[in-house]
């Protein structure tokens, strides 16, 4: 460094020295607990407030485990692979988006070990050109998604396929216009437990199912509790609990609770599938405008609290077969 700095005028010494300091520790290696991204940032920066980065990925890579990336202004910030506990936050500065194409995934979550991942105020938009998946959860102990929009992907909007136990929360989020299902929750390894809570989620115009939960591996379990949410105008089932493990020797239940929610204008309103393994519970909800109000195959369990508004479907609005009392 000294050789490079020798000829520099005194006026530039401070600036040069600060660059020098960076080179000494290696700028790509420096990490901060809080990093920043801006449309006018540069990924060669250290992602500080004064010198923000340009992309989520660069900021992620320069953020400490358990740190936070803060969005500074509206713009596109590119796709992201998450490998640690981190929070990515756009708290109302304008759209913080990413456009996804070429068969890729907007956000791929692959955080091993005990990991907490938090996403707020992000827009993940597919733009065709080879297709895309919105978000794919491979592993994270805890994932929280709030105030996000995931739309227009050729495949699934939110694809939760964890290979280890995972607790997932989705709040006040729009999942629409995807060519696959809006949301899929699926246990991907033996014994994996997937626990999901959804509140204020709007799932519109997806070509396959609105929300599809499936325990797919022996001894695994998938549980999804859905309140104040809407699945409408989807090509398949609005809310769907299925257990592909029907042929598996080991019990692998899928439980879906649809409470104070809406399933409207889908092919089938709510559905359960799998011998004694698919469970769907329906309470205080509206089921309307569907070709079929509900379906129950193989035969799975579909239970009603007898307080649902099932009307205006195209199958004569039959009552669900099993009742459970309110308490």
């Amino acid at each position: 460094m000294g050789a490079h700095m020798r000829a520099i005028s005194p006026a530039l010494v401070i600036l040069a020295a600060s660059f020098g300091a960076c080179f000494h520790v290696g700028s790509a290696q420096a990490q901060a607990a809080r990093t920043f991204v801006s449309s006018f940032g540069s990924d060669a920066n250290d992602c500080s407030r004064a010198t923000p980065c340009r992309t989520f990925q660069a900021a992620h890579d320069k953020t400490n485990d358990q740190g936070e990336i803060t969005v500074l202004d509206p713009g596109g910030y590119g796709a992201l692979t998450i490998t640690k506990s981190i929070s990515v936050v756009n708290d109302g500065v304008g759209e913080a988006g990413m456009l996804v194409s070429g068969g890729s995934t907007g956000i791929f979550v692959n955080a091993g070990g005990p990991s907490y991942v938090n996403l707020r105020g992000l827009t993940i938009q597919g733009i065709g050109f080879g297709g895309s998946i919105g978000l794919d959860l491979h592993q994270a102990s805890f994932l929280t998604i709030e105030n996000c929009v995931i739309r227009n992907h050729t495949s699934t909007g939110l694809s939760f396929f964890p290979v280890s136990n995972s607790s997932i929360s989705v709040l006040n989020t729009l999942v629409s216009d995807n060519g696959g299902s809006g949301i899929i929750l699926q246990s991907e390894s033996t014994g994996v437990v997937v626990k999901a809570a959804l509140q204020g989620v709007e799932i519109y115009n997806n070509s396959v199912h609105g929300l599809w939960a499936v325990a797919n591996s022996p001894n695994s379990e998938v549980s999804a509790v859905i309140t104040d949410s809407v699945a409408a105008n989807n090509g398949g089932n609005g809310f769907y609990a299925s257990a592909k493990a029907i042929s598996q020797p080991n019990f692998a239940p899928t439980n879906v609770w649809v409470i104070h929610s809406v399933s409207a204008n889908n092919s089938t309103g709510v559905a359960s599938d799998g011998v004694d393994t698919g469970f769907l519970f329906l309470g205080d909800s509206v089921v309307t405008g569907n070709q079929v109000s509900w379906s129950r195959t193989n035969p799975a369990i579909l239970e009603s609290f007898v307080d649902n508004y099932i009307i205006g479907n195209f199958d004569g609005d039959p009552a669900p077969p099993i009742h459970i009392p309110l308490k």
């Binding site: 929009v149 409207a264 405008g289 508004y309 669900p320």
Partner: protein, 318 residues
């Protein structure tokens, strides 16, 4: 389908771009700014456009327009799959007059359109309609405001198989209906309204009209308010298409009619909702109205003040 129809344009633009001007290349993400935008720009982040229409025209099908700052961005005609997003940078508005339409959607039959955070305001001077949907597959609107038009706020009149989803949106102070769903003679229409408010419109808050449609029509309203409108809060009318309007968890307040069905092909049903209005001596109203054998139904769990001119068909929860 949209992709196919737009690809010749895209190729033409690429060709032109190779010859000379990168400023004419289309982007998948474009930007508009009222502060520093110029429609001669390429609508990139560094060189944003000034109007929605210029940005739309310079955006690839399936792309997105991002609003950068507060201001007016002008009316537009949408002809492809696109998303227009104002995610909290301040008001992104369209002022409409001279008999114009704020946003006119004339997209291909496989197009998905998404609008977020847009204000469409009428300013008189020859009148206006807020948003008119003519063709396209699906429209999703969230966090929008459509108000003060002389015509309808939101008019959904597709000529084919189309879907509508509207949430967290205000439709107020319009000279006709807050929302009018009036499909043309095409395929089925499906619509969902979640947390909307239709307020102070001169005719109906929300009207579903199946008189010129041949497909079935299904409309659901939840967690919404229709108040202080000149005629009905929630209304369905049809002598032709099978038309069903379901209202749950909502209120119809201080309208001339709480909810109304007109014609044997129209039904309106209410659940877990409130219907109320001022006393007759102060203008009054009726809770519900059935004309020409329109169906009115209730799940028996509504808070309804007053009565109507027909028996409510009793519906059981299941």
């Amino acid at each position: 389908m949209t992709r196919m129809s737009s690809s010749p344009l895209f190729l033409a633009v690429i060709g032109f771009c190779l010859q000379a001007a990168p400023a004419n290349a289309q982007l998948s993400r474009t930007f508009v700014s009222a502060g520093i935008g110029n429609d001669a720009n390429d609508c990139s982040r560094a060189a944003p456009c000034r109007t929605f229409q210029a940005a739309h025209n310079k955006t690839n099908a399936e792309g997105e327009i991002t609003v950068l700052d507060t201001g007016g961005y002008g009316g537009l005609v949408i002809t492809k799959s696109i998303s227009i997003v104002n995610d909290g940078v301040g008001e992104a508005s369209i002022l409409v007059s001279g008999g114009g339409t704020g946003i006119d959607i004339q997209a291909g039959p496989a197009s998905y359109i998404n609008l977020r955070g847009i204000t469409i305001q009428g300013i008189g001077f020859g009148g206006s309609t807020g948003l008119l949907f003519e063709t396209g597959f699906a429209l999703t609107m969230t966090n929008c405001v459509i108000r003060n038009h002389t015509g309808n706020g939101l008019q959904f009149s597709p000529r084919g198989d189309s879907r509508l989803a509207v949430s967290n949106t205000l439709l107020a102070d319009n000279g006709a209906h807050g929302v009018q769903i009036l499909p043309g003679n095409g395929g089925p229409v499906r619509a969902v309204f979640h947390r909307i408010a239709t307020i102070n419109n001169s005719v109906n808050g929300l009207l579903v009209d199946g008189d010129v449609s041949s497909g079935t029509i299904r409309v659901l309203v939840t967690d919404s308010v229709s108040a202080n409108n000149g005629l009905a809060g929630f209304s369905a009318g049809s002598f032709q298409a099978d038309t069903f309007l379901v209202v749950v968890g909502s209120q119809s307040a201080n309208n001339a009619v709480g909810f109304a069905a007109d014609g044997a092909q129209a039904s309106v049903v209410l659940g877990r909702s409130t219907v109320a209005f001022v006393l007759a001596s102060s203008g009054g109203g009726v809770a519900w109205s059935s004309t020409n054998n329109g169906g009115v139904g209730s799940f028996g769990d509504n808070h309804i003040f007053g009565s109507g001119n027909a028996n409510l068909f009793p519906l059981a929860k299941k």
